[in-house]
Each structure stands twice: as structure tokens, then as C-alpha cells.
């Protein structure tokens, strides 16, 4: 589903990603962990082309991200083609990034009606279903400012799901939440994983990684240090850097 091949990315002379390769199969949940500055969020943002990569290739569903390759040459995608690719990849941000001038329901319906070719009635119908699914069926007309952080993040998940993505990216979805609100967001993500969604999750929630993750990748300073079964790595990390990191967060 997702194939990341030898991806390098630098900001000026600072190399953030130093040859990352990953593979996520359909229906799998990959958890990216690591200290801040390790490049895990950047990696995630490269997958839906919010950031350009300097070398390597990223494929989602066998489609090269950001470029078209023909006759041994890469051609930049037109903005409309890049947008088209992004519609298949949902993203959930650390700071929710809900649209503050729209109600919860409008947040969930705006993309299907303006990007997709879905009728208003149909979008409202699916929007209500999605908000019900994340447990916010009673907050349809609430503006983000009148919702708690956990509720906002659940609306954000519903908003991403409204585009019927085949892949969901989560960029530290619970890091900006009060501790008692983390659970409700993780519950929604667990339900989503159980329903067979392919997910890549950057998180510090090791409990979630162990319980839901099919694959855990530990990154540090732009490289993959260790990867494999979450339960095994969390119990017996092989690398020194993984050990010292886990000792701090567990």
C-alpha cells in the first residue's frame, strides 16, 4: 500500500531524512516513534506531498507521489494532479487544524462537496454518519471553539474520512490533548484500525503502538534505527538508542 524507497530530504544543508525505506501493507497499522527532531513527522508529511523529497521514491497504492515517471525522467505533477493524489490520503494533525469558521458538520462536508463531486444532501448524510461514528452525533452544529480538544480531534478524523481515503496519516494526534482526553481519540483510532484502514501513525503512545500496531518503526536523526513487531521491540529493544529512548518514555 505504501512503499517508501531510500527517501532523502533536507532543509538547506540540514539533512532531515537520510535514506528512509518503509513498507506498509493494505490494512496494516504502522507506528512511527522516536525523539523529536528524528524526522518522523517530516516522513509522514512527505507521504502526502506536503513536503517535497530530494531523492528516493514514495508510492501509495502503486502511484508515485508528486511526480510522473516516464522514459527514465521525472515530471512534476500539475497542482490539480497532486490534489487528486491527496484526496486518497487522509491526514490528521497534532493541532487538529479544524476550520474555525465552520461547524463540525460543515468541516466534514466541505471537502466532499467542493473537492469531490458529491451532492450536498449526500455529503450531509455521510457527514452525520461519520460524526456519529466518532461519537459526536450530538455536536453537528457546534463550532470548533465550543468543542474540547478531544472532540475537535475526533471531528478532524471524521473530516479526513469523509474523502473516503485508502490511507490515513496521523501526525501526533494526541500530543496536544489534555491527558484525560487522549483515550477518546485513541479509541476512535482503534476502531478505525479494526475496520481495516491502512494507517501510518506518528505517536508517543506506546500502549497504542503495542495494542494496535502491526509494525513499529523507531527513527532517530533521520534514519530508521530499528523496526519490527511492536510488542517485541517494546519488550526487548536490540539497539542502544531504542533502549535509551524507551527507557525515557515508558
Amino acid at each position: 500500500m505504501v512503499v517508501v524507497k531510500d527517501v532523502h530530504k533536507n532543509y538547506g544543508s540540514h539533512e532531515v531524512l537520510k535514506g528512509i525505506s518503509l513498507e506498509v501493507n493494505r490494512g496494516e497499522v504502522m507506528v512511527l516513534v522516536g525523539p523529536s527532531g528524528s524526522g518522523k513527522s517530516t516522513m509522514l508529511r512527505c507521504i502526502n506531498h506536503l513536503e517535497k523529497i530530494n531523492s528516493g521514491r514514495i508510492y501509495v497504492d502503486n502511484q508515485l507521489i508528486g511526480y510522473r515517471e516516464a522514459h527514465g525522467k521525472l515530471y512534476e505533477l500539475k497542482p490539480s494532479e497532486a490534489s487528486e493524489q491527496r484526496t486518497g490520503i487522509g491526514m490528521v494533525f497534532q493541532k487538529f487544524n479544524l476550520f474555525p469558521h465552520m461547524t463540525a458538520l460543515e468541516n466534514v462536508t466541505v471537502a466532499p462537496t467542493s473537492v469531490g463531486k458529491v451532492s450536498k444532501e449526500e455529503a450531509i448524510q455521510t457527514g452525520k454518519e461519520l460524526l456519529n461514528r466518532v461519537g459526536l452525533g450530538n455536536k453537528l452544529e457546534h463550532y470548533p471553539a465550543h468543542l474540547s480538544g478531544g472532540q475537535q480531534q475526533r471531528v478532524a478524523i471524521a473530516r479526513a474520512l469523509a474523502m473516503k481515503p485508502k490511507l490515513m496519516l496521523f501526525d501526533e494526534p494526541t500530543s496536544a490533548l489534555d491527558p484525560e482526553l487522549v483515550g477518546e481519540v485513541l479509541d476512535v483510532m482503534k476502531e478505525l484500525a479494526a475496520s481495516g484502514m491502512t494507517m501510518v501513525v506518528v505517536t508517543h503512545e506506546m500502549g497504542f503502538a503495542r495494542e494496535v500496531g502491526d509494525h513499529l518503526v523507531f527513527m532517530d536523526q533521520g534514519v530508521v534505527v530499528e523496526s519490527g513487531n511492536p510488542a517485541e521491540i517494546l519488550a526487548n529493544p536490540k539497539e542502544e538508542r531504542t533502549k535509551s529512548f524507551l527507557a525515557k518514555v515508558l
Binding site: N48, L50, P79, S80, S83, E84, R86, T87, I89, G90, M91, F93, K95, N97, L98, F99, P100, H101, V110, A111, S114, V115, G116, A145, H146, A156, R159, A160, M163
Partner: protein, 296 residues
């Protein structure tokens, strides 16, 4: 020794801090103001009988209407074009960015009074606009078209255009600040949902920026009401100041007529300031509401 703590149950009734100098300054300024008003009321040069005679003169009233029309129409041009320029400035297209930068550079860099003089001369400078390839004839077929410009283009129209195009440059900078104030995460969220650049601007960024730019736009409107007096440069003489000068040239007594014009301007700006006050209060109320919710 044990500290003696008196009963703390009753509410505090402390002697408030005294501000003798504030009182002294207030009395001084009040006396000064009374003296000025008394003097002005009796000063011959102000010629209050003439002031009263012409205060409701039909020309003054008609001029005030033209001033209001000019203010509204040129602000509409300024806001619409200003939003367009600010958005172009953010565009990924370098040509749009260049147009915006050059436009703002030119219209902010030259005095509005001089621009208005040029607008007055514009129909003399350009008697017609020719679109096509100059001096090329294929047989009898002439490649291009002459758009004649009327010498009788209404001066009001040129004044409105001149003020509006100048205002657009300033509004563009205000809108640009508004666009920059919208969190970048908004754009990223929209892009991740598959929005194109223009859709992101129109549906997500511009609506949020507009709320931010309402107070400075009110300020610009008040400023515009006064700037309309410069249309005398074209010359357009049907506005408030123009008509005031008309009357002056007959009465040979400019002072009371100018006082009338000032009174009208200050009345109109006062109404606008009251409107702005209520609008800002409404906006800040929404803001406080947000804070309370965030805490609770």
C-alpha cells in the same frame, strides 16, 4: 509574638488611592476649553450668522451626498481589488505576484493628489485605446481595433476610479496581513483534503482573513471619507468640499463655510466611528467567548 489577624470575613472597604494631579489637570483643561469656546463664539472672523445661514444650504447637502457616494464606491473598488491583489501576492504564479508587487509599488509610491490630477487629464492623454498590431496592414484588413474614449467621461467616474485604485494598494497590504495571520495549518489541512490552491484561498483562508481585516478596513473608510476632498484635483467640484468652495467664491468669506464643511465631515466620520466601535465590540465579544470555552 503571634501576628494579630483581624476577622477577614467582611468585604474590603479600603480608602481608594487619591489622584489630585488628575483632578487639577482636568480642571485646567476644562477652563481652557471653556475659554476657547467662549472666544470662538464671539470672534467676528468665524461669522456665525453666515455659518447658520448656509448650514442647510442645498449645495452643502448635495455635496455631502456626493462625498458619501464617492466614499462608498471607491471603498468597494478598493476592498475588492485589494483582496485580489493580496491573493495574487500569495499566488504560486510568479506573474500574478509580479503584477501585485508592481501595482502596490506604483500606487503607494505616488501621491494620491497627483494621481487624481492625472486621472483628470487621462481622457486628454489617451483619446482612444488601440488593441492590435500597430502599423501592419494585410491588404485592406487592419489588424486591431480602436476603442474611442469619450472626452465626456463623467469626472465623477474618474474620481471614483482614481480613489478606488489608490485605495486598493493600501487595502492589499491590510488584506495581506490578514492572510498571514491565518494559521498555516489551515492551508495544510485544506491541501491534505485535496483542495486546490484557489479553493483553499476562497473557502478557507479568505473567510478567516476577512474577520481580521474588518477593524483596519473601518479605519480606511474613515480616512477615505476625508480623502474624497482631494477630488478637487481632477477637478471634481460636486463633493462637499467642492461645493463649500463654490459658496465661498460668492460670499468672499471662506471661514464660516469651511467650518460648515468641517462640521459635516466630523459628523459623518463620527457616525462611522460609532459603527466601527460596535463592530469591533461584536468581534471581541466572540473572542472572549472563545477564551472562556477554552478554559472551561
Amino acid at each position: 509574638m503571634e501576628l494579630m489577624v483581624p476577622s477577614t470575613k467582611e468585604s474590603i472597604k479600603a480608602v481608594p488611592l487619591r489622584h489630585p494631579f488628575r483632578w487639577a489637570a482636568a480642571v485646567f483643561l476644562f477652563v481652557l476649553a471653556i475659554a476657547f469656546i467662549y472666544d470662538a463664539a464671539h470672534r467676528k472672523a468665524y461669522d456665525w450668522p453666515t455659518y447658520r445661514k448656509y448650514f442647510f444650504d442645498s449645495r452643502i447637502l448635495a455635496g455631502a451626498v456626493v462625498t458619501i457616494e464617492l466614499t462608498i464606491l471607491s471603498m468597494v473598488i478598493g476592498v475588492v481589488l485589494g483582496v485580489a491583489l493580496a491573493v495574487m501576492r500569495r499566488s504560486p504564479n510568479p506573474i500574478f505576484r509580479a503584477i501585485s508587487v508592481v501595482y502596490i509599488w506604483f500606487f503607494r509610491g505616488t501621491p494620491v493628489y497627483v494621481q487624481l490630477v492625472f486621472w483628470g487629464l487621462s481622457t486628454t492623454i489617451y483619446s482612444s485605446i488601440f488593441l492590435g498590431i500597430p502599423d501592419i496592414h494585410f491588404g485592406k484588413i487592419f489588424l486591431g481595433y480602436h476603442f474611442p474614449l469619450s472626452q465626456n467621461t463623467p469626472i465623477f467616474f474618474l474620481a471614483m476610479l482614481g480613489l478606488g485604485l489608490n485605495e486598493a494598494a493600501y487595502m492589499a497590504e491590510i488584506v495581506r496581513a490578514g492572510l498571514l495571520a491565518v494559521d498555516r495549518g489551515q492551508e495544510e489541512a485544506a491541501m491534505s483534503l485535496g483542495f486546490g490552491w484557489w479553493q483553499t484561498m476562497r473557502k478557507i483562508v479568505i473567510p478567516q482573513a476577512l474577520r481580521i481585516i474588518i477593524p483596519p478596513t473601518g479605519n480606511e473608510s474613515i480616512s477615505m471619507l476625508k480623502t474624497t476632498s482631494l477630488v478637487t484635483a481632477l477637478p471634481l467640484v460636486t463633493d462637499l468640499y467642492g461645493h463649500a468652495r463654490d459658496i465661498e467664491s460668492v460670499t468672499y468669506d471662506p471661514v464660516p463655510i469651511l467650518l460648515i464643511a468641517c462640521t459635516y465631515y466630523i459628523l459623518m466620520t463620527s457616525v462611522m466611528m460609532v459603527g466601527q466601535y460596535f463592530m469591533e465590540k461584536r468581534l471581541s465579544k466572540g473572542h472572549q467567548e472563545l477564551k472562556v470555552v477554552a478554559v472551561g
